[in-house]
């Protein structure tokens, strides 16, 4: 029996409970993930237990296609780690040889992680690796000449929400999408239980120029994680 395929935009599709992206570099997996042929295209499975974006696509109550960036978009990814999720975003924003002319500025503070990311960006044009501290706007702004369409922040630090607001207010376009992954355990224990922590973060977001569209609970895929799906308000 063939399962129904739902397109979530260019190069992203959902098949049953699995999400696939159209592989921009045929024949090569990034994190040893499964690949499959479909005519002349190749698809890579996007593991929702290893990527908070993929998990959100399965968990959101809204149209998941609205959460991912469009082909040709400018994206800012903070806490790119070795680039697992970045590579899937690259599949849809840039595509093979970056024929969509998209861009993903991928920031991480760890040189160990960056080593892997640099290798990835060399075979996937459109990924710009930036070794920097995301908390410091000045370390990122030289790499951005115009505001971006989409931001995802996934940092293992405390004060995530504050950093996110600062970043979004500096770099996110009007109506741009801002996604904040928040982990329960990485914030200091003194800040209280998970719930209180998430509430605190939500409050910080509410008092910013962002509209919180949905607080997506990733339970079952990424334990103790939520993803705040936000949109930049229109300000002139």
């Amino acid at each position: 029996m063939k399962r129904k395929i739902i397109s979530l935009g260019w190069g992203v599709r959902k098949e049953g409970r699995n999400i696939w992206t159209r592989n921009a570099v045929k024949g090569i997996s990034v994190r040893k993930e499964r690949r499959k042929k479909d005519g002349k295209n190749e698809w890579r499975i996007w593991d929702p237990t290893k990527s908070k974006i993929a998990a959100s696509l399965l968990r959101t109550k809204f149209d998941p296609a609205k959460i991912i960036p469009q082909p040709g978009n400018d994206c800012l990814y903070l806490g790119s780690s070795t680039g697992g999720t970045v590579s899937h975003i690259h599949d849809c924003v840039c595509g093979s040889g970056n024929h969509h002319k998209g861009q993903i500025i991928a920031v991480d503070i760890s040189s160990r992680m960056m080593r892997e990311l640099v290798k990835l960006s060399e075979i996937r044009p459109g990924i710009v690796p930036v070794l920097a501290d995301a908390r410091d706007i000045a370390q990122i702004s030289p790499f951005i000449y115009k505001k971006v369409d989409w931001i995802h922040q996934d940092l293992s630090i405390s004060d995530q929400a504050k950093t996110f607001v600062k970043i979004a207010e500096s770099f996110l376009k009007n109506n741009g999408i801002g996604l904040l992954s928040l982990k329960g355990a990485s914030e200091r224990a003194a800040d209280g239980s998970l719930e209180i922590k998430f509430e605190k973060a939500e409050e910080i977001l509410m008092n910013s120029n962002l509209n919180v569209i949905e607080k997506i609970d990733l339970k079952g895929l990424e334990e103790q994680h939520v993803l705040f799906y936000c949109k930049m308000k229109c300000i002139d």
Binding site: K50, S111, M114, P142, K146
Partner: protein
């Protein structure tokens, strides 16, 4: 009027949004020079063109992020995009190479000086507490030690400190100069705590980067201590896990050489709650298990494997729980 700039150009814009002056980067536009420029900008410095405009006009505001709000800011052309992509990769490679420069020694300095600060702090802190206790005879010197010191720092006299701590007034008071010395000594203790925290932050940042896997297993501060005890990451990676297990147990090892039973764990592993807070009869088992994992973790970090993520770490933690729950009662001695 304000100056906006990116690596390509700089503009002077008046309050109506009109471009008054504009300079493009035109000479020696090469990838290596662009790398240099980006490094400069990342440090929060102005581009050479922005600097020229800044010196040409008085009373202007410099906005490093100003171009982002300017809808007329020129987009990259194809050459610029290509150059930028190339430079970003070069620059990141350069930074990676720089950041690995002798981290063993750098961490050793940080950890050793943090230890020195800690031991100075311990001495000063107890001196302060005993000193205050001489005058404020009714306060409890064991609980609220921090509060005692903070109250002295905040007060202008011993009697106002007594008020602050809601304790009875002193029978004898220190003289003016004596009080000043006491207060200064308390300030020193507070200052040392702050410095300790600063050191620990620095250690955390370096270690998370240098030993990500070991850090996620036992925490970056413990990881750095093991590193310093072993001498280098290389040594720690090549060490048998049995030796890693007893790192920091000098005295017990010396006793063992003279015939006592071998230590079950060193001070670092003991400070982990899974070891130190477990019943005494499973500590050795847990320590051996963690030492084995720590040994693998260090090898991953040193020989460039893919660092462990949350999955691997929680698996290890649940294995530890299993070990602990397997031995709920002390063994019966034969």
């Amino acid at each position: 009027m304000r100056i906006s700039y990116d690596w390509r150009l700089s503009r002077l814009i008046n309050d109506e949004g009109m471009v008054i002056d504009e300079i493009y980067w035109t000479s020696d536009v090469t990838v290596p020079n662009l790398v240099r420029r980006l490094l400069l900008l990342q440090k929060g410095r102005m581009s050479p063109e922005a600097r020229i405009l800044y010196e040409r006009f008085d009373d202007v505001e410099v906005c490093p992020e100003g171009h982002l709000d300017d809808i007329n800011w020129p987009p990259y052309d194809e050459d610029q995009q290509k150059m930028f992509d190339e430079a970003a990769i070069k620059m990141t490679k350069l930074k990676i190479a720089e950041s690995s420069g002798d981290l063993d020694k750098r961490l050793d300095m940080l950890v050793s000086s943090a230890n020195e600060i800690r031991s100075t702090w311990t001495t000063s802190e107890s001196r302060c507490i005993e000193w205050v206790g001489l005058f404020l005879t009714e306060i409890n010197l064991d609980t609220n030690r921090k509060e005692i010191i903070n109250s002295i720092v905040k007060s202008e006299s011993i009697s106002s400190a007594a008020n602050l701590m809601e304790t009875t007034q002193p029978l004898f008071s220190p003289s003016e100069v004596e009080w000043k010395s006491l207060k200064k000594h308390c300030e020193l203790a507070v200052d040392l705590t702050q410095r300790m925290r600063q050191h620990e932050d620095a250690i955390r940042i370096l270690t998370l980067d240098y030993m990500p896997t070991l850090s996620s297993l036992i925490g970056p501060l413990n990881a750095s201590k093991l590193l310093v005890l072993a001498g280098s990451r290389e040594r720690l990676a090549r060490m048998p896990s049995g030796s890693l297990q007893v790192l920091g147990a000098h005295a017990a090892m010396a006793a063992h050489r003279k015939g006592a039973s071998p230590p079950k764990h060193g001070s670092i592993l003991f400070s982990l709650p899974q070891v130190g807070k477990s019943p005494r009869w499973v500590r050795g088992k847990v320590a051996r298990f963690i030492a084995g994992k720590a040994s693998i973790a260090t090898r991953i970090d040193h020989f460039g494997g893919i660092p462990w993520g949350d999955k691997e770490i929680s698996k290890i933690n649940s294995d530890i729980e299993k070990i602990i729950s397997k031995f709920p009662k002390p063994p019966i001695r034969k």
